[in-house]
């Protein structure tokens, strides 16, 4: 019986003209988003290659490795980040490293082609989020009340048909009728990746597969929800209206509102505010330091007069002693400034984390937000991308320092020898080969790490499915068949 209902659903959904038109449009969009993603990746690679070459250009005429103490590195484009853009356009793409300090990001977040920022990209995450949810609603909003309105529910249940079997068959059949056809353009799109000359690692294929699985779970959420609402309402027009409201809230309102709520609930001080506080302390310290300098100066004058008989050596020592005290005070004041700066920055970071957690926590009541979070985590284009880039840059900075030591025999902290290059030029020394500088290649976290981060959201999508499935099931068991 279950198989019969399932096959009926499959045939009924896929046999309609509505399905043919909707499926055609969806397929086109899915394939187009794969194509656009791959093209986007190619563009980024071109930009990356020219940027990498430009980063090394300043050292083209250098003859001494001692002068190669810093340079700019660029975030290596990844195919998945082009397919599921996430935040990859909104974080800096370049960082300066010098082998000593923490790498610093430059203002380089997609500044070269700002037009893309206006309407955002047609990426897979957006297409799945909008299409899958609408697709499910469009074909399941009248799953039960529509059958009742058409009289087919009465006719079906005039037979010895168990309710549980019917609703199970209906849910499974509707899911298969929507998911299986959608997998076709997805597979074609995935095939485009190698066909267009882009290679993915095994890890990336697994992550892409998991993303598709998330898409299917997301489709399931809206499908079970639509059937559930269809069981709770008498008329298809009512269920469609309810589902449309839920869709707007889930896809458009809740994710944005969560950020607004978190922004108001947890205030994160701006970098300008921190700079003002630090500047105030620096000014206060400068006044204190000036005052101390005046005191020391006065004391030196006074003691010089009093100790004329003790000879110049005595006063020289005494001066060193007094100015030493001034240096100690200045060091202490500088340390206070550093302490304040690091404390404020740490507080800012903590508040940012708190704000992010609150925003994401609230947003997770929306299946669409959960899908976005899981998709961007799997593609490594989530909020963590900036941190991952920084970790990569730090590791590279360290290896660059080692490279410098190998080349010069000196630490990168040592002072630069300007004379040596002049001497080299006189001797017509050979130019350095800049290609020897180790290449920076961004490495996404390992698959287990990404899985660990994505798993809670994948589990949440599964939970949404379960809750709405149970809702639809129990609502149908009590449904008035008349």
């Amino acid at each position: 019986m279950l198989k019969l209902i399932l096959l009926k659903e499959l045939r009924e959904i896929t046999g309609s003209a509505k399905f043919a038109v909707t499926f055609g449009i969806c397929s086109m969009l899915i394939i187009l988003s794969f194509f656009a993603g791959i093209k986007n990746y190619e563009t980024r690679m071109e930009e990356y290659n020219s940027s990498t070459a430009a980063n090394l250009r300043p050292y083209k005429d250098t003859t001494d490795w001692d002068h190669v103490r810093d340079h700019r590195i660029s975030l290596t484009p990844k195919p998945l980040a082009s397919l599921i853009v996430g935040l990859s356009n909104d974080i800096p793409r370049d960082a300066y490293i010098n082998g000593r300090d923490t790498p610093s990001f430059s203002r380089s977040n997609y500044s070269q082609q700002p037009v893309f920022s206006v309407f955002r990209f047609l990426d897979l995450e957006f297409v799945f989020q909008v299409i899958f949810s609408l697709f499910a609603i469009l074909f399941a909003f009248d799953a039960v009340n529509g059958e009742k309105e058409r009289g087919t529910l009465r006719l079906s249940f005039a037979n010895s048909l168990p309710r549980a079997g019917y609703i199970l068959g209906k849910l499974a059949g509707s899911f298969l009728a929507l998911a299986l056809p959608l997998l076709i353009p997805i597979l074609i799109g995935a095939l485009l990746i190698p066909v267009m000359g882009v290679s993915l690692t095994v890890d990336e294929w697994i992550r892409l597969s998991l993303f598709i699985l998330c898409g299917m779970l997301y489709l399931g959420v809206f499908l079970t929800l639509a059937v559930f609402i269809s069981c709770l309402t008498q008329r298809p027009s009512s269920s469609f209206l309810f589902l449309l409201i839920i869709w707007v809230c889930s896809v458009l309102i809740i994710p944005r509102a969560s950020v607004l709520i978190a922004g108001n609930a947890v205030e994160v001080p701006s970098t300008e505010e921190i700079s003002v506080q630090v500047l105030q302390l620096q000014r206060q310290n400068a006044r204190e330091s000036d005052k101390k300098l005046g005191e020391v100066f006065q004391q030196v004058l006074q003691e010089s007069r009093q100790n004329r008989d003790k000879g110049p050596e005595f006063m020289k020592n005494r001066q060193e002693e007094l100015y030493g005290e001034l240096d100690i005070l200045r060091d202490k004041l500088d340390k206070n400034v550093d302490d304040l700066k690091s404390r404020l920055n740490e507080e800012r970071t903590n508040m940012q984390i708190k704000q992010e957690k609150l925003a994401f926590g609230i947003s997770r009541i929306s299946p669409a937000a959960v899908f976005t979070l899981s998709a961007t985590t799997l593609a490594d284009t989530s909020m963590e991308l900036r941190n991952h880039f920084m970790e990569n840059a730090k590791a590279y900075s360290k290896s660059f320092a080692d490279f410098f030591r190998n080349k010069t025999g000196r630490s990168i902290d040592s002072e630069m020898n300007f004379n040596r290059e002049r001497e080299d030029k006189k001797k017509q020394a050979r130019l350095i080969n800049v290609n020897e500088i180790p290449e920076f290649a961004y490495q996404a976290p390992d698959l287990p790490v990404i899985l660990h981060d994505a798993l809670p959201d994948i589990a949440l999508l599964f939970l949404f499915n379960l809750v709405f499935f149970i809702g639809a099931f129990t609502a149908f068991l009590r449904y008035d068949l008349r």
Binding site: M1, L4, K8, R11, E12, G15, S16, R150, G151, T152, R154, L155, S156, F157, A158, N159, S160, L161, P162, D480, L481, R482
Partner: protein, 249 residues
């Protein structure tokens, strides 16, 4: 089949339904329909005709009394009882994206008949008067009469001893209505027990073995064909509807 061989197929025994809001939809309705018999229930909207059918189909449970099909109490063993029932609704819609054949195939399988061939479907569709060129067309373009024919074909395919018809002729043109009555007559002669709710007094008189008049949940009159032969059913009906029960008696 002789009179003595006839057995009771459909039976309502003091069937009562009171809804949660207190409305008494059916009040101790009792009747019995034997095989090879047609029972026509007449009554205004809200008289309790569809409620009676709903109770036989176990779409609702009785407050008191029982509906039985071949002795099976419908609210106690609904799945078993429904194996013995075929049902044709007032406005047969079926699946619009399916062809007539596909609809027949689906509902026949749902009714537990898995061995029918396409030829069987074709034969039954021809029997109910649906022309062959329509058999493989989607139901979208079908008229009400054509859909009604498909509905009765589904009921025939189920080959159940009892057939419930909920206002099957409403909205049918005279020719389609006439053909439908002929079909019912055939089904009766095959031994089917038929319960039909209708507003159509003339067809009820013409086809039914027993006519029942329902008013405000009560079966206010029940009479066999012979008893009605010398009476004006329309007048009788109007009187009962107006509440002149004593006069009618």
């Amino acid at each position: 089949m002789t009179e003595t061989e006839k057995q009771t197929v459909l039976e309502a025994d003091k069937l009562t339904k009171r809804y949660e809001d207190g409305v008494l939809a059916l009040d101790e309705v009792s009747f019995a329909i034997n095989s090879s018999e047609i029972f026509a229930m007449l009554g205004a909207n809200g008289a309790g005709k569809t409620t009676t059918i709903n109770l036989f189909l176990n779409f609702i449970e009785p407050t008191e009394g029982e509906a039985r099909v071949m002795g099976i109490v419908t609210h106690k063993e609904p799945l078993l009882a429904k194996e013995k029932i075929a049902y044709v609704s007032e406005n047969v819609m079926l699946y619009q994206n399916f062809t007539a054949m596909q609809n027949l195939d689906y509902f026949a399988r749902l009714g537990g008949k898995k061995d029918y061939s396409k030829d069987d479907y074709r034969d039954v569709l021809l029997r109910v008067g649906l022309q062959e060129e329509a058999h493989n067309k989607r139901l979208k373009g079908f008229s009400k009469g054509m859909r009604q024919k498909c509905g009765i074909a589904i009921a025939i395919l189920k080959d159940a001893p009892a057939i419930l018809l909920d206002e099957p002729t409403s909205g049918l043109d005279p020719k389609a209505g006439f053909e439908f009555m002929k079909l019912l007559d055939n089904l009766r002669s095959e031994g089917k027990s038929i319960l039909m709710s209708t507003h159509d007094i003339f067809r009820a008189r013409e086809i039914a073995d027993t006519v029942g008049i329902m008013n405000q949940g009560k079966l206010v009159m029940q009479a066999g064909k012979d008893e009605l032969s010398d009476k004006d059913l329309e007048q009788l009906y109007m009187k009962y509807m107006a509440g002149y029960m004593e006069e009618a008696a």
